[in-house]
Amino acid sequence: MIERSPIFDIVTYAVMILGLFVVIMPFWITFVAGSQSLTEVSQVPIVLWPSTHLFENLQEAWTRADLGPKMLNSFIVAVGVTVGKITLAALSAFSIVFFNYRARMVCFWMIFITLMLPLEVRIVPTYSIAANALLPFQFILDNLGITWLIQSLSGIQLSLEWNLLNSYPGLILPLVATATGTFLYRQFFMTIPDELVEASKMDGAGPMRFFFDVLIPLSRTNMLALATILFVSSWNQYLWPLLITTDRANFGTVVMQLKALIPDQNGLPDWNVTMAGALIIMLPPLLVVAFMQRWFVRGLISRDK
């Protein structure tokens, strides 16, 4: 702080309180409405003080939207994407940084380019590949004449199929297929001094030993940072789960269920239950961010630069 002026201090606090109001207001209204009864939530003007019906609303939202199994699905997807991305990122960054092979930069760029196109802009064809993930392999076999060869030799028509619709791999794998994290790891691995590699070589440790015993422990904070942002972003996914699951009862995620809780045009305007549901669904990523703030900020900032 440079100057001490009481007036400017007051302005600073005023702006921050205003900011606090802007940021917190939606949370507060969600919470307040979620705690009210149907008559209270329908009052105009709105009552901005919590009432006593929070738990029954939470329970009602939980059962109406069948949030139990959906919660589990959301956790499976979020953890799956997080673990998948971190594992792939660490392995491929290790390959690119610590090995010397000719195609290394080609691989690097191939992975790098995936950051350019988010899943949202290529949903239609990604959906079609999810309907049969083995399509590219069939294509390769067809064009190499292998399908023809097998058919003429054995009479069996080779058709590969792996349908990912309504399955965990379908929910998870396409989300894992971008390079988020690979660069965080690459940048970190490049700061590892050569001496460390040489020392571990001298001790007789092979590359995998070096990876598990030296690199992984050293990158623990990076991993926490990355895990936080990946968990939040995959928990909050909406469009992809919406497309890939037609069997909502078994494979729906909680974020998808929100729409089912919105009151009908002609039905009961029970926004209190809707808001209680929103509260449940907001909570897990919010807790993760609140508790992991220190690491998560680090991960964000080093990810994109």
Partner: protein
């Protein structure tokens, strides 16, 4: 930086990178190529296979007035969301950077919107902006019918823009604060000694110094306003009333999955991809330049 100490191994590096490469090929490169292929072909009715139609699909969407209004709306949407979100976040970051007592609390709360799923925020804001109840509905008590996003397209779009801008506050705030805190104190002190007031220092000293962050955020925000709006629109208005909140991503989804027009949706996807790639390129070019300046 080149590394001197390598592992010499022929197959291991390939085994390590293979999972990521395969996943990227199957779920990124294949679909992207497929989109390109579909955009130039037309599925024949009654299962007659594909026929190569060159630019017909593109001509069809470009001749469609509705498509142009969707593109213009998306551009407007992206710019306004970006402007609001960055302005609010920068203001908050500039004041938090003054580091008075108790700012740690503010700092952590300002990050919260980042954690919220767009549809969850959409549902909350839809309630807040509901014409018959909620916070804004109270205005209708005083002037009946003055606010109704269910009928008025301008209101509906404004509601979604405000919600999207709110969601972006957390992310922008983190970056602005980090950039501001990286400026050495002595620079601001020197400015103060020359008699520059805090607001003047922000515009003449701090903003030029954080220009790279500013520009980076500008592009990132534009891209995310183009791509991340689906969850909000689907939970708040479903593109209505009468298409007034339909943006590019939503139209692709609608034409592709509800209208089953793969060729049209693919052509639209390609246009959106080109837009996003162009923005990303601008960003990389800028980052490159910045490295040279340093």
């Amino acid at each position: 930086m080149e590394r001197r100490a390598y592992y010499k191994n022929k197959t291991l590096p390939w085994l390590l990178i293979a999972p990521q490469l395969i996943l990227v090929l199957v779920f990124f490169y294949w679909p992207t190529t497929q989109a390109l292929f579909w955009a130039f072909t037309l599925e024949q009715p009654w299962g007659g296979g594909n026929s190569w139609v060159w630019f017909d699909n593109f001509l069809a969407i470009f001749r469609d007035r509705e498509y142009w209004s969707t593109v213009l709306r998306s551009g407007f949407y992206a710019v306004v969301v970006t402007a609001i979100s960055m302005a609010v976040a920068l203001t908050l970051a500039a004041f938090v950077d003054r580091a008075l007592k108790g700012t740690k609390l503010f700092q952590s709360v300002f990050v919260w919107p980042y954690a919220i799923a767009a549809p969850a925020a959409g549902v909350a804001f839809r309630f807040i902006f509901a014409p018959e109840s909620g916070l804004v509905g109270s205005i209708n008590e005083i002037w009946p019918g003055v606010w109704n996003p269910a009928i008025n397209g301008v209101h509906a779009l404004a509601m979604i823009i405000i919600c999207h801008a709110w969601l972006g506050i957390g992310y922008n705030f983190i970056f602005f604060l980090a950039a501001l805190q990286m400026i050495p104190r002595s620079i601001s002190e020197a400015g103060a000694m020359d008699g520059a007031r805090p607001v003047q220092r922000l515009f003449d000293l701090q903003l030029p110094l954080i220009a790279p962050t500013f520009f980076f955020l500008f592009i990132i925000n534009l891209i995310s306003s183009f791509t991340d709006s689906f969850g909000l629109i689907d939970t708040m208005t479903e593109g209505g009333p009468v298409g007034s909140t339909e943006v590019m991503v939503y139209k692709i989804y609608f034409d592709g999955f509800k209208g089953l027009d793969y060729s049209g949706a693919a052509a639209q996807s390609i246009v959106l991809m080109i837009l996003v790639i162009a923005l990303t390129f601008v960003q990389f070019k800028w980052v490159e330049k910045r490295v040279h300046y340093n």
